[in-house]
Symmetry: C2
Subunit: 348 residues, 2 copies
């Protein structure tokens, strides 16, 4: 009484459909911003500051090999390195079970905080964010995204895999070394469920896929930012965030884990082009991006995976928090025009 | 083509149920933070920097009188002053109508940006935020909240009235003079609709009101922060934000506009107690609060109005934006204990 039963713990308010992971230990994680960390735990030479890597990419002659750390040994000379977050939002050594909850009678449900929380360090170079790194390195990052998401998607009791990147402290990054994160959840979060169901409803009511139809309609229109053989980038018509954009594969697939290697190489190029344009247009702003994919093993065939990028150019405040409705001071058509011209100028 | 048809414009993505107000002119509003404004437009003497006030509270002998500005004349010696936002998210001089939209075929709908956006300046004193002002002054602020919300609730085509307060730039306040805002919308936002429907469903399925039942259950429990004759303050079991708390009236009413004067006086006291405790516990953090009320004229009798307070002690990042699920590093039981003890220490 007075404390969560499990640490971490997943709580759902079923009346309001609000999910939260209560994770007190994460309050202890280090922050460059606040503590002026003198050593970066993600830089080469400091590998013992992190848990053993489940996946390490190493250059070996002309090929990239995939290795993993064993016990206290750490693979040296890595290009990309993936390991469990030292301050995980969820823990894989817990079983997934419903907890008896004192508020259950009012529609609250609690589960043990089972899940996976991994870090993908994108480069040995502390400053190699997408605009500042080589296309070749970014292609390796996309392969690592694919490897980690694929592995976690088929772990027992995993219902959704969320891959995201936070850039700068204002967008929630506590360490500045280039990295992404993957959280594998034992439940399907409500906004994912709503989105997947919206795709299914569109398919049932009108046939086809809303995102395929949208891409076709927006090509050549005022919200188009970029298009190549594999991807189309749009400023969505009802953008919640200033300069929000979506990277949409032309080929209809439910998840990033269904992609071809050539699509992943193309995605590296699109991310580099768009994030470089964003950096130049808005003085290197903070941003978040997230991969939107169908839940594994969940009749998700009508869903169309994509990446949503949210530059942090405004503060969402009392109005947004109270209504779920947004005020966006940048019309998507103006944002798309600026991004389109900048990407052309960059020669992509 | 290439720009919104109306300025501002309300857009709804009906597939994903996302609403946004596209308001380009709001990008031009002044910001103390960025521009080092030398003059505060909300301070006495600068009334001509703002539109004429629709409501001004003035002390006249022993009583408070309610006046309004006429044309270029400005009432002097005011205690509370309410006027239209100079950079409104919505404009009342537009008619409310659906716009023909090029993306309508894919489930997007657009409306003219009709609505009201008012500012309530809470004191002539530039630093009189709730912990630093008198209870008497805060009681006037609650009366002004009531007057403005009541008036806007019955304007033609208004479907929802949102009252909120942003404190500090990190929580979205562009001016530091104590003020709150009211936005009256021509639509019911999706999260309000979901919440009202959840109350109605609970009432239909189990009888009674979920918030009445919750208050009864939580009284004396580990998430109770404060209770008096009129209000109960709780850290909700599935708190999304560290140290989030809800101020819940004991008397079941659908909206703040149904309150008695004595309830509003009690609310002033509860806000002062809780916001003072918050300031002392966390070094004066930014916060947002919002009034949650039933939409006017909308069979809202099963709803139970309350105030939700969200301290901004963490950044919601890629995970939250991608899933709608939150990571909260402060268990509500721990947050409630700290707040409860601090409020007792303050003598409330």
């Amino acid at each position: 009484m007075g404390s969560p039963v499990s640490e971490p713990e997943i709580r759902r308010d079923t009346v309001l459909d609000r999910w939260v992971i209560v994770a007190a230990h994460r309050a202890k994680r280090p922050s460059e911003d606040k503590e002026k960390l003198s050593v970066c735990p993600f830089c080469p030479g400091n590998e013992l500051m992190t848990p053993p890597a489940s996946l390490v990419y190493v250059q070996d002659g002309g090929v990239v090999k995939k290795l993993s750390d064993k016990g206290d040994e750490r693979v040296k000379g890595w290009l990309v390195r993936c390991f469990s977050n030292l301050y995980p939002a969820l823990k894989s050594d817990l079983g997934f079970e419903e907890l008896v909850s004192e508020v259950y009678v009012l529609g609250g449900v609690a589960y043990t905080g089972f899940g996976y929380h991994e870090v993908i360090v994108e480069s040995p170079n502390h400053k190699a964010h997408p605009p500042a790194t080589s296309l070749k390195q970014l292609e390796l990052v996309m392969e690592a995204y694919f490897d980690v998401m694929t592995r976690l998607s088929y772990e027992k009791d995993v219902k959704y895999v969320c891959l995201f990147r936070n850039y700068k402290p204002e967008a929630g990054a506590s360490l500045s070394h280039p990295h992404s994160q993957v959280i594998a959840l034992p439940v399907v979060p409500s906004s994912v469920r709503r989105e997947v169901e919206a795709f299914r409803r569109y398919n049932r009511e009108r046939g086809g896929c809303i995102l395929c139809d949208l891409v076709e309609m927006e090509l050549g229109g005022p919200r188009l930012i970029y298009a190549d053989k594999y991807f189309v980038v749009l400023a969505p018509w009802a953008s919640l965030h200033p300069c929000e954009f979506w990277i949409i594969p032309r080929r209809h697939e439910a998840s990033f884990i269904n992609t071809h290697p050539r699509e992943r190489r193309a995605l590296a190029r699109v991310l580099k082009a768009t994030l470089t344009a964003l950096k130049r247009l808005f003085n290197d702003p903070p941003y978040n991006y997230g991969f939107h994919v169908a839940p594994p093993r969940w009749r998700g065939e009508s869903y169309h995976w994509h990446v949503e990028v949210y530059p942090k150019l405004a503060v969402h405040a009392g109005f947004e928090l109270s209504t779920g409705m947004y005020i966006n001071t940048a019309p998507p058509e103006k944002a798309a025009e600026a991004m389109r011209l900048e990407i052309e100028r960059l020669g992509y």
